[in-house]
Amino acid sequence: MRRIYHAGVPAATETLHWGSRELPPGHIAVMAIVNATPDSFYDRGRHWGTSATLDRVTQVLAEGADVVDIGGIKAAPGGEVAAAEELERVLPVVEAARERHPDAVISVDTWRAEVADVVCRAGADVINDAWGGVDPDLASTVARHGAGYVCTHAGRHTPRTRPHRVWYDDIVAETTSYLVDLAERAVAAGVRRDGIMIDPAHDFGKNSRHSLLLTRHTDVLVATGWPVLMAMSRKDFIGEALDLPPDDRLEGTLAATAVAAWLGARMFRTHDVPATRRVLSTVAAIRGDQDLALGRRALA
């Protein structure tokens, strides 16, 4: 289809290969959050327990998620969850999800190489390294399994610590250079180049203005050439833009999603799959990346 408008909108060029899926440029993908935790900030254990978590996997895939992202530890500080306990939470979900949904792309949100190794053997396709490369063995572990890899920028913070008065001379430049470096180091460690995404990790090691700035300058991240994942769903920077609690952050999240998608982000991590899918389809139609789902108006 002919693209009518191009100016200022960067176009992603590479196809991403995750698991059995190809995610080509122009398809803006949805990564569904699946919490195998009793205490995550938004769902607060709504899907806690292997059976309930698996039902959630089935639900989000039916709703059109391209990827499920299973996490066993909440991001906020709290009681320590050792690797063994993290695996007790995540592994049964990965194994069963793999069996029930052979074609689904399964991502696991972990910063630990030892967890990544076990879940990849159980069928995980992607490791979402949400704390920004704190385990030096993670990339090589991902490489050994031929898995996909999400590089994130968490401000060099220790996992599960809160940012406190964090200062960046240039948050966009710092985040961009850190992510490019992490991605290149992942390639050097043997990770497939076509399996890597970068994620600026909104709110991780950042205040709300930092997260808004990174959203405003999504095009800078896109211009690196690495496909960009945005994980913004119901986060505090949305809450602080609006002074609203997590339950009331859907519209704000979708607005940020539309802006970042317009500017070229390729995947969105979300709690709300159907709403996100609709927003992204609309943006794709506006961008000219996707044709009308129905073309009748004034055409009969």
Binding site: T161, R165, H210
Partner: protein
């Protein structure tokens, strides 16, 4: 010239209304207490005020530097082209602007070990505006999560400021203070070295509060002549 007075304010960026944004009024009481501290400092000082605040080891600034919080994502309005102070010094500098102090001002950065940084202008002064706060681990929602020891350390700090106890404020256990993310401890240790031979003739704790799990204190000391 000798020191005449010491004012204590927190190192919280949200003290600056431009940083706090739409929620600035939530902290008006704390901000007003800090303004009162600064006004007393101005009234007690004929010549110069020195802002003292914690800084990172690699902090540098020039003599014409001013406050600015761009690194928190906040553009200064109206714009000001002068170079920027490290942000903790900037908080004190902003407060002096806010109370319309037009006399001389100096800036001393204090490193984690309680020694003064060599950067910037370290003049002796009539008044010291000391920027630093208590622990950041008072509640589960606090920046450093909950540590049961935090309340006790903050109570010690409050008592020392309220009673003009120079040694008590300057002798907090460094490792405990570091564990509890107490940004003020090194600055107060430095303060003890410069006012050790002076007596506090008037002391008042104007504010002792922790609305976000960080111990905030606004206080005031007048020193013997």
């Amino acid at each position: 010239m000798s020191l005449t007075a010491v004012g204590f304010i927190p190192a919280a960026p949200l003290l600056v209304p431009q940083v706090a944004g739409g929620s600035a009024q939530l902290d008006d009481e704390l901000r007003d207490a800090c303004r009162e501290v600064a006004r007393r400092l101005v009234a007690a000082t004929n010549d110069a005020i020195t802002v003292v605040a914690p800084v990172a080891a690699d902090a540098t600034w020039s003599n014409d530097a001013t406050w600015g919080f761009e690194g928190f994502g906040v553009p200064r309005r109206p714009a000001d082209d002068r170079p920027r102070l490290p942000w903790p010094l900037g908080i004190g500098d902003w407060l002096l602007d806010d109370v319309a102090w037009t006399g001389a001002r100096h800036h001393i950065g204090v490193l984690g070990d309680g020694t003064a940084s060599s950067a910037g202008s370290a003049g002796s002064a009539g008044g010291l505006l000391v920027v630093g706060d208590g622990t950041a681990r008072r509640t589960e929602k606090a920046p450093g999560h909950l540590d049961e020891r935090a309340e006790g350390l903050d109570a010690t700090i409050a008592t020392a400021i309220r009673s003009g106890d120079v040694a008590g404020l300057g002798s907090l256990d460094p490792s405990l203070a570091a564990d509890l993310l107490c940004a003020g401890a090194p600055v107060w240790r430095w303060l003890m070295t410069v006012v050790a031979d002076r007596s506090v003739v008037e002391a008042e704790l104007l504010t002792d509060t922790a609305p976000y799990g960080v111990g905030y204190f606004a206080g005031w000391w007048r020193l013997s002549g």
